[in-house]
């Protein structure tokens, strides 16, 4: 096979889409041809770059909830009402959510707008009152995804991530890889909350990312009840663990996030005993 032929078929080879005979011919060509090898490596590097979990956009959980409701209500409503409902649907709240109360509005408009806002709030806002800390953690989670600062240390190896924090923090966060359980460790990052340095661990669950924020508890007694909340479509669970406060933030569904928290707590309890 010539370089030109290999070049034509290289991506089919990379994607495992060629028949065996053709693939073997390419494999025969590659060891003798640095140029084709380099081309293959470059294509592999591009593929790895795109497949990186920070590139994927998982569905926001608010959208998921909204659709679940929409699908369920669809079964009992005749079509005419459905289409009417669709037209009347308020614009997604995030479009004007920011300071809606500051927008200049005519009074009748304000009343209508309030109705829309109240209707939408039920969908978008958590049942708990938002608190400064939760907001800050969600901000931090979002920033870590958007602002190209997911990891300071990117590794699936807990023995790389844990020592990385040494000297950067005045405590040593618990770091365990849960690959076997379906929550692989992805890396670690130094973060800030209220001006104090805290540890952030990043875990993956399929296409979702989980940030675990950890700092030493001031005087929180261990074993406090876990606290679950949602904020801007993200699920958050707080738990205390051997003198550390841990907050997990993710767009992962609440059940799987809880599963992760249970894993984390069990592992932590086991490691401090031994």
């Amino acid at each position: 096979m010539t370089c030109e032929e290999v070049h034509q078929l290289l991506h089919g080879y990379l994607d495992d889409e060629l028949d065996l005979a053709t693939a073997l011919q390419i494999e025969k060509h590659l060891p003798d041809c640095p140029r084709c090898r380099k081309e293959l490596e470059a294509a592999q590097a591009v593929r790895a770059a795109v497949a990186h979990p920070g590139i994927y956009y998982p569905a926001p959980s608010a959208l998921r909830d909204r659709l679940r409701q929409a699908i369920q209500s669809q079964t009992i409503q005749p079509l005419s009402i459905q289409s009417q409902a669709r037209e009347m649907e308020p614009p997604p709240i995030t479009r004007f959510f920011a300071p809606w109360w500051m927008r200049p509005m005519a009074l009748p408009g304000l009343a209508a707008a309030l109705l829309v806002v109240i209707g939408s709030l039920a969908l978008y806002l958590p049942s708990h009152a938002p608190r400064g800390e939760i907001d800050a953690l969600v901000d931090s989670h979002v920033r870590s995804l958007e602002a190209n600062h997911l990891y300071d240390v990117e590794s699936t190896d807990q023995h790389t991530v844990k020592p990385w924090f040494a000297g950067k923090l005045d405590f040593s966060p618990p770091v365990t890889d849960f690959s076997a359980e379906g929550f692989p460790l992805a890396g670690g990052r130094l973060d800030y909350l209220d001006g104090k340095k805290i540890a952030a661990l990043i875990y993956r669950r399929k296409k979702h990312l989980i940030n675990v924020f950890i700092w030493p508890a001031d005087e929180t007694p261990d074993g406090g009840a876990p606290e679950t909340t949602t904020n801007h479509g993200f699920n958050l669970i707080r738990f205390d663990c051997k003198g550390m406060v841990c907050w997990t933030v993710s767009d992962l569904n609440a059940a799987e996030l809880q599963q992760f928290v249970d894993l984390f707590k069990t592992q932590r309890a086991a490691s401090t005993r031994s």
Binding site: L10, H11, G12, D15, E17, R35, K38, E39, E41, A42, A43, Q44, A45, V46, R47, A48, A49, V50, A51, H52, G54, I55, Y56, Y57, P58, A59, P60, L63, R64, R66, L67, R68, A70, I71, Q72, Q74, T75, P78, Q82, R86, P92, T94, R95, E146, A147, N148, L150, E154, K206, K207
Partner: protein, 183 residues
């Protein structure tokens, strides 16, 4: 009217592929709100058409609806919808040029920077972008992609080759421009 059993089957199928649907719509519309609107609209369309869906690959069927809905939204408000479609394909042809050098290392360095990678993908012409997303992020086979995009398998392969070549060029250029920028 759908039976409740059908609906719950539909619901679980849709929710299972919600990430794939949103991700595709997000990359096609390049905007969160539009992507959410697209997924919502596509869901309702799919629910209405679910009776006519006779088994087979639900994901491919659903993603095809998401794709079409995205294009409807993108073309809405454009002067000439057909012209816009043609333009993006022609733009795809323009970037078919091969990279001058293959530099896996430079790409690897750049790929640590998620924002750069996203920007590079955003810069791809639509036809190449959707093929890359379906292949690299959803892991679909050429055959499945061909079905969704409605092109022959050979075209899927050549679009992937062009898309990757274009991305490589962009990533390497970003890499060198950064190096020049930092003294």
């Amino acid at each position: 009217m759908s039976l409740p059993a059908t609906t719950s089957k539909f619901e679980s199928a849709v929710l299972e592929h919600m990430d794939a649907a949103y991700n595709l719509a997000r990359w096609l519309t390049r905007n969160d709100q539009d992507a959410q609107d697209v997924v919502q609209e596509a869901c309702m369309k799919a629910l209405r058409a679910f009776d006519s869906f006779r088994g087979g690959d639900f994901r491919a069927w659903f993603l095809a609806i998401v794709r079409n809905t995205s294009f409807t939204l993108l073309r809405r408000g454009k002067d000439s919808p057909e012209g816009a479609g043609r333009q993006s394909l022609e733009a795809g042809a323009e970037v078919a040029a091969e990279p001058d050098v293959y530099d896996p290392q430079a790409i690897a360095i750049r790929s640590a920077d998620a924002l750069c990678v996203r920007r590079a993908i955003d810069a791809l012409p639509e036809a190449l972008r959707e093929t890359i997303v379906l292949r690299e992020m959803e892991g679909l086979s050429y055959k499945e992609i061909g079905k969704i995009v409605q092109v022959p398998i050979g075209t899927v392969m050549s679009r992937l080759a062009r898309g990757r070549a274009h991305l490589q060029k962009l990533l390497v250029e970003m890499d060198s421009s950064r190096q020049e920028g930092t003294p």
